[in-house]
């Protein structure tokens, strides 16, 4: 009966004259009808004979099926010297293809049918997901199965993933906010712990294919996987096709151990990282957070929410709205399912008001632990949770996600309802108590990233010790030169031997200038470019290189006064990478070898030369001439192989040089002629075209 009346009312009001109804004077006059009952869908659970747990949720709204396998693994298990292993493995499971198909073939197959299969490993779990149209379900499930059970980890894709991760390292200091977040987190968790380590060139270089395979084999087995699938299918049919699909995958492994515990005592204070190309400072303020199932978590969550949780929060009102210091300002009580999160305040402000903005935020932290929050603030926070609670259930997928997450971490199924009830019970006194107990303003870690020259008040005005952070990116240690007497002595012997073979110190030192004419062929996989080159050098360090390429002439110059690159598009300054290349060029110059760098040797015929910054290792042949040289350039492993040695003016020079990058062929140089002491002058080499 009631339904009928509602319908009638709607029909009548639908015809009402537009705009004749009166707008209420205040929003409080609006009557809200009770919210419709939420339908919580039922999830089917089962365990396959091999031990894999399956959760199925039918959802017939759209003809789609999607799923996610959750795996208990994570980069928390990365060995210390191989940070990045989990990440490489997670990516390579999909990208490196399966035993039956290459990654590229899978790309093509899936994109043709608008489906996807992806795999990843994060800090505390791994995922393999898929999504497909219903009518392609079997085909996509087969790929999904193969990615989980028979990844092939092809080497070319491992190289690609590592290359991309290295580029990420090279770019990690380009984003000021990223620096602040990274340094803040590493300081709190401890830089030398699984929670605070960063992936570096060095640790990536240490990862081999066999490491990846071993990592996969340790963690990917049926009993360590939870599989959740939702969409347009019949659960009974889905169950039987999964059973069939995974029937032969039965390997068992010992259970995965718990993650390492967070154990670090952060040193409170202000930490500053300099970034000069910005007009604002990014800052983070905070301390350790906690777990989601801590009994005080609900009160802490409300505390952080009142402090900096939204437009209505104190930090937003004070630092943004009233002071106009920040666009971005927020606070968060970080809590994890199985390891603590971080309590953090994050913001950014113009360089000049750096110290003032941090002070204003600090003041709010002190205030929330000395004065009770107002009843209105608490009520607003509680209502926010209560009234938006429905959005936890607005799609069936959310219910499935939640259930699976709780099972994965061993949380009770009704955790979200317990949480909601706990929020309802939080009192003003609770908030004051937890703020006092968990937040110590004197023990805060404060990180600021910005341009100190433009700060109004210095960071020292915060009255805490200020430590400068070194955020420079460590270059990989290439065959670190040894320092013990035996290695040094052996290095001297090998160096003398190599110099003799090259023609002797005197002959080498007599060369004042040199000119090589050569052909250069870049490997097809790296572009296949072909060029004729003339390389000119004059003591001590002037280089000119003229390249004739299919699309024009490129001339580069580097000398004590700087350098440039002349291209058909105009003259450009040298880029960082090119400068590094020049430094290495000088370091490897045959004629400058006598007495240039410190020799050492720890291995047979391997001679390492180092000036403390650059390091090159030569492998000597029977005749004393180097067979190859190995060094690093911007995180890449370079290997040069020398052959076809010929004599000019009593000096031996290689006429053929083959170069590989990270183990892959990169280019071949074939020398046509060499002219020594032809009278090249440094000034001439520097002339612009």
């Amino acid at each position: 009966m009631r339904l009928l009346i509602t319908l009638l009312l709607a029909a009548i009001t639908g015809f009402a004259q537009e705009g004749t109804a009166v707008r209420p004077a205040t929003w409080k006059a609006i009557k809200f009808p009770p919210l419709k009952q939420i339908q919580i869908p039922k999830v089917e659970e089962t365990t396959l004979p091999n031990g894999m747990k399956i959760y199925l949720l039918e959802n017939h709204e759209l003809p789609l099926v999607s799923g996610l396998a959750l795996v208990r693994t994570g980069n928390l298990f990365d060995p210390k010297d191989k940070v990045g292993l989990a990440s490489v493995t997670g990516n390579a499971m999909r990208a490196g293809g399966t035993t039956s198909k290459s990654g590229d073939e899978i790309d093509e197959q899936l994109e043709n049918i608008a489906a996807s299969v992806e795999s990843r490993i994060g800090e505390g779990y791994g995922t393999i997901s898929f999504s497909t149209l219903k009518n392609r379900q079997d085909e996509v499930l087969a790929v999904f199965h193969d990615v989980i059970t028979q990844p092939a980890f092809r080497q070319d894709k491992l190289d690609l993933i590592k290359t991309q991760l290295k580029s990420g390292i090279a770019r990690r200091n380009d984003d000021a906010k990223g620096i602040a977040q990274r340094e803040f987190s590493d300081l709190l968790f401890g830089r030398d712990t699984p929670y605070g380590r960063e992936v570096e060139y060095e640790t990536l270089n240490n990862i081999s294919r066999s490491d990846v395979v071993a990592f996969y084999e340790r963690y990917y087995f049926p009993a360590n996987i939870i599989l959740a699938i939702q969409g347009d299918f019949d659960s009974t049919a889905m169950k039987s096709s999964l059973e069939k699909l995974f029937a032969s995958w039965t390997g068992q492994k010992p259970p995965v151990p718990p993650f390492p515990k967070v154990a670090n005592t952060p040193k409170p204070g202000v930490y500053f990282a300099s970034k000069t190309d910005v007009t604002q400072t990014n800052f983070m303020i905070g301390s350790m957070g906690g777990l989601l199932n801590d009994k005080d978590y609900p009160a802490l969550e409300v505390m952080a929410d009142i402090l900096g949780g939204g437009f209505r929060s104190r930090l937003f009102q004070k630092v943004r709205t009233q002071l106009g210091y920040a666009y971005d300002i927020s606070a968060d009580w970080g809590a994890g399912f199985d390891s603590p999160g971080l309590f953090e305040i994050a913001g950014s402000t113009k360089s000049k008001t750096t110290t003032e903005a941090i002070q204003a935020a600090e003041k709010e932290v002190r205030k929330i632990r000395t004065e009770m929050v107002s009843a209105e603030e608490l009520e607003t926070a509680r209502q926010t949770v209560a009234n938006s609670f429905v959005f936890n259930f607005d799609t069936p997928a959310k219910t499935l996600n939640r259930l699976v997450t709780y099972r994965f971490y061993g949380y009770p199924d009704n955790f979200i309802f317990d949480y909601q009830r706990a929020i309802e019970k939080v009192t003003q006194a609770d908030i004051l108590r937890v703020a006092k107990q968990y937040v110590d303003p004197d023990k805060l870690v404060i990180v600021a990233v910005g341009n100190a020259k433009e700060f109004g008040a210095p960071l020292s005005a915060l009255g805490r010790p200020v430590t400068d952070l070194d955020i420079s990116i460590p270059e990989p240690k290439a065959a670190a030169p040894a320092n013990d007497a035996a290695s040094l002595a052996k290095g001297e012997v090998l160096l003398a031997r190599m110099l003799r073979a090259l023609g002797g110190k005197d002959k080498l030192s007599a060369v004042q200038d040199a000119e090589w004419k050569q052909e250069m062929q870049v490997a097809p996989s790296a572009g296949g470019l072909k060029a004729s080159q003339v390389v000119m050098w004059a003591r001590p360090a002037s280089y000119r290189q003229e390249n004739v390429l299919p699309f024009g002439k490129i001339i580069s110059y580097a000398g004590p006064d700087g350098g440039w690159l002349s291209t058909p598009q105009g003259v450009l300054p040298l880029q960082e990478m090119q400068k590094q290349q020049i430094d290495l060029e000088i370091f490897r110059n045959w004629f400058l070898l006598p007495g240039a760098a410190k020799p050492s040797s720890t291995k047979d015929q391997a001679l390492t030369l180092s000036d403390g910054k650059l390091t090159v290792t030569y492998l000597l042949g029977k005749d004393g001439l180097p067979l190859q040289a190995n060094y690093q350039l911007s995180g890449m492993e370079i290997e040069e192989k020398f052959s076809d040695w010929r004599e000019t003016n009593g000096v031996q020079l290689p006429y053929k040089v083959s170069l590989t990058q990270n183990g892959k062929p990169y280019l071949e140089q074939t020398v046509q002629s060499v002219k020594l002491n032809g009278g090249l002058k440094a000034e001439e080499l520097a002339k612009r075209p």
Binding site: A25, Q280, D328
Partner: protein, 521 residues
């Protein structure tokens, strides 16, 4: 046609400035693991949608699109204002964005302890500010003492006005009533306001949304101006990519206002006044220039009743004029450098026509062929095989689509590789697309992907609400959302080759790249 806020790219970002970045609160309600959401909805075709859509236009011209979706008791609201930073007047860049921020300052009744007194105090702020400007306008004859005194007076006037403010009450009402995903964005072509409510709070949305556009209040204007200025520091001045794209836009586009970023220029922002915001509002926030979509568990007849009750009071005003400036044809390559210690990055822009041009769908197919997914030409060549780029991507429509704009590429070299290498490889790929036709299999795949990409956004109430308003406002009919896919389907390999030759010409190109500072090691 740009498709709003969705972007899968790591590097190409939508040109929209949001009011607020953080939207996640009370975390235990958002778990860390999300299932891949439904990707494709082939059955969700036009006929199916037509059945569920109700449209009506109020007498003042305000257009509503209602889409019923009764799966859960929730509703998404999206207000699309067909004006953006492209409409910023000269010397007032950033005003569209500034007004968007002011739209969160409340109303006469929400956010003031005493509107009558606050109104007078706000008027006094303007009077003093006028006097300051008058003094400054004397140029060399400005009296510094007088100016100083006036500035002190301004500070006092602002403080007085602020004393009547209940800070952020408008937002607080939304949040405490269960509003989620509240935000707004200012782009080149439009300004968007959006959030979600539980379905029993629908009338509250009508009350609040109509309130802020009926009689906007300009409280805390000058402090919010500082916030807006700070937003520029964050998005442009302290971000290498932000700096580069701003420089590129200004060099590639010489006359049309698309040359200005959505946030405006620093000095313009620092001099914006309340009168500028008011004028912008009166000109562009015209009911007939606004479109509203409501998607979710609602009754269309009830929506119509509430629309009349709350929005009929918006006065009918004439539609604003479009931008008349036409960008002249580019007659020669251009290049712009931004000195930055960051790792190298490059944008390459070619002029293209607006989204109403018959070549628009072809350009979408071209950009998809070049950079969508792991089977795209640029990914395969630069990222996968040559391993010289971390990313190489294309965007067919930048910075907006209403007027002729740019077809954009971004090149992000891998460590140890240079922009020159990437540029050479990109040029070779472009050459290949101009010299040969796409094979039919690749074209079919691209069409499937574009369809998927668009329909992907139809699986959420909020995505639907945004798209319905956008297509309705831009093309006059939301159905274009589906018919545009038919246009994509009609694109032939010959079309793709033709537009590649027509637009991707060296003399139509502007390159923007970062270069290392001199002497920097």
């Amino acid at each position: 046609m740009p498709t709003g806020y969705e972007t899968n790219s790591l590097f190409l970002r939508p040109t929209v400035w949001h009011n607020k970045r953080r939207t996640v609160r009370l975390k235990s309600s958002t778990l860390p693991i999300l299932l891949a959401l439904p990707a494709l909805a082939a059955a969700q075709n036009l006929e199916d949608f037509k059945k569920r859509v109700t449209e009506f236009t109020l007498a003042n011209g305000l257009h509503f699109i209602i889409l019923e979706r009764h799966n859960a008791p929730v509703v998404s609201f999206h207000t699309y204002v067909n004006a953006g930073s492209v409409d910023d007047p000269k010397g007032k860049t950033g005003i569209a964005h500034m007004f968007e921020h002011m739209a969160f300052k409340g109303t006469e009744t929400e956010g003031s302890t005493n509107w009558h007194a606050e109104k007078a105090a706000l008027a006094q702020v303007e009077t003093v500010y006028d006097a300051i400007e008058a003094e400054k306008n004397k140029g060399p004859k400005t009296d510094p003492e007088k100016l100083k005194a006036l500035e002190a007076k301004l500070g006092e006037a602002i403080e007085k006005a602020d004393s009547f403010v209940v800070p952020n009450l408008y937002d607080r009402i939304i949040e405490s009533n269960g509003g989620v995903g509240m935000n707004a964005g200012t782009g080149e072509d439009s300004t968007d306001y959006f959030y979600n409510f539980p379905s029993n709070r629908v009338e509250l949305w009508f009350y609040l949304e109509s309130g802020r556009f009926l009689r906007p209040v300009y409280r805390e204007f000058y402090k919010e101006r500082d916030v807006v200025r700070e937003e520029r520091r964050m998005r442009v001045e302290s971000d290498p990519q932000g700096k580069l794209i701003e420089a590129l836009q200004a060099v590639a586009i010489t006359a049309h206002p698309y040359r200005n970023g959505p946030g405006g220029w620093a000095s313009d922002i620092e001099n914006l006044r309340v009168a500028d915001a008011e004028k912008f509002y009166k000109t562009y926030y015209v009911p007939a220039n606004m479109t509203i979509a409501i998607v979710g568990d609602v009754n269309p007849a009830e929506m119509k009743r509430l629309a009349g009750k709350y929005f009929a009071a918006l006065p009918k005003r004439p539609l604003p004029p479009p931008v008349v400036t036409v960008e002249p044809a580019q007659e020669g390559a251009r290049r712009v450098e931004v000195i930055s210690p960051a790792q190298p990055m490059e944008f390459i822009a070619y002029h293209r026509p607006d989204q109403y041009d018959p070549d628009d769908p072809v350009l979408d197919v071209l950009s998809s062929a070049l950079s969508s997914g792991r089977t795209s030409l640029l990914y395969k060549d630069l990222v996968r095989d040559k391993k010289i780029a971390l990313a190489a991507e294309a965007d067919a429509t930048f910075p907006g689509g209403k007027y002729p704009g740019l077809f954009l590429f971004i090149l992000v070299p891998n460590a140890g590789h240079t922009l020159e290498e990437c540029q050479t490889a990109l040029d070779a790929v472009i050459q290949k697309v101009q010299d040969s036709k796409l094979d039919e299999a690749a074209l079919a795949r691209i069409k499937t992907k574009i369809r998927t990409g668009l329909i992907k956004q139809l699986d959420s109430n909020s995505g639907l609400a945004q798209l319905l308003t956008q297509y309705s406002a831009a093309y006059g009919d939301w159905k274009k959302l589906f018919t545009s896919l038919d246009e994509i389907d009609r694109v032939t390999p010959e079309d793709v080759q033709r537009v590649a030759k027509k637009y991707l010409r060296p003399e139509n190109r502007t390159i923007g790249l970062t270069v290392q500072p001199k002497g920097d090691k």
